[in-house]
Symmetry: C2
Subunit: 266 residues, 2 copies
Amino acid sequence: MAGVAIVGGTGASPGLSVRPVGGLPLFGPGDDLAGAITQALAAAGDRLEPGDVVVVAQKVVSKVEDRTVPLAGVRPGEQAREVAAKTEKDPAVIELVVREAQAIMRAVPGVVIVRHRTGHVLANAGIDASNVSGGEGESVLLWPDDPDASARGLRAALEAAHGVRLAVIISDSLGRAWRMGTTGSAIGVSGMKPLRDRRGERDLFGRELQATIIGVADEIAGAASLVIGEAAEGTPVAVVRGAVYDPDDEAGVAELLRPLDKDLFR
Amino acid sequence: MAGVAIVGGTGASPGLSVRPVGGLPLFGPGDDLAGAITQALAAAGDRLEPGDVVVVAQKVVSKVEDRTVPLAGVRPGEQAREVAAKTEKDPAVIELVVREAQAIMRAVPGVVIVRHRTGHVLANAGIDASNVSGGEGESVLLWPDDPDASARGLRAALEAAHGVRLAVIISDSLGRAWRMGTTGSAIGVSGMKPLRDRRGERDLFGRELQATIIGVADEIAGAASLVIGEAAEGTPVAVVRGAVYDPDDEAGVAELLRPLDKDLFR
């Protein structure tokens, strides 16, 4: 099945829509995220269509998977104390950062960049103290244990509930090496190839296209980020309709990650 | 004026739409890009609304600004010959890359990464031989001389024609340091701040948001990239409606560029 296309908008041409899923509850450990999404869509008179990509913010996935860690029980080891001193950050938080990291890439005052155990390079190993219940600073939220598996589980439940083929992306806001600001990025995927390989396609003059491997899952996560808010009025789930991608039952997010030995920028 | 919102889609909730502008001609030097966009929208029974972001692929901007360079007249200098040898690329193309670069960041077989004179870090200084008329390899297309100025000019013409306040983004597909695949990115902007600063906003529990400076112009460019095709069926222009951004008459793309001395990833 091609990624299908066509959607709303006022024009006659096909296009893309990105709609927030409103009316979701606050989530806690063990909650049925797919069920809540389905209920919220139904309450809005909406439904999922074949090829839709459901983008879910990492935070709510981590919450239902009970990835909250109370800081009181965390004892910083030697490496954590060193990195905490360099970064002027809470040693207990940094202990969790170290546990979640394959490698510490950079530690300077206020900033710690790591290569996460999943292979993503990001600040604080994705650990965030906001939007977690409990008093300020008392607990933090880790990434899902296996974001691809989280995406697969959500996709299976949503496909069963809606009777259509879907893709699911777990997203987070990641910084970039050379550019300021974060962009919504895919940290787990199911149902699609995260890259779209257009090599071999021809341009208007019959020549092969150049920049032809597209990080389509990141572009979709970024589009969803434009409607997914982290603040009070926000919702953690969006439905992207009309994106062209290659459906795939096996692919995970790994092919989006540049191997360190292919790093072209340092 | 807030970035306004609301659009198409089948749900009751607000959201984002990204619509390709179809029916555009092939462009050449001196062509009226804003006029062609306005005509194509009118032919589709469509119009621009307040707050719309018009995203235009760099290639067509470069074409109307006559940034095509025939390679036959390019004499490679010493630096270009060295870099061409390292990268196994055409010395004439590399001469243009060198002229467009502040600095060569990396040169290995098949790859040259530069810091462009505009400050962007990217492969080949954005020089691309596809979709340029003339025989294969005979000419290449440089980035616009000043992509922010290109965006300002387009915005002024489109605002005059449509009588609404708009933003314009000139986009290109850029690679990333740590991730595979390109994503549509902003290389010139007008009418908006390219970053959205949410510091000071509070989460559901009253705590300050963390990842709170968002590269919103890049997210919009990435969303547009999902409908902007480079191949035969593609169109170089998309209209993004419903994105929340901070309107600004002065801002250019510069604040999206991380200063080299603030590079956190190397």
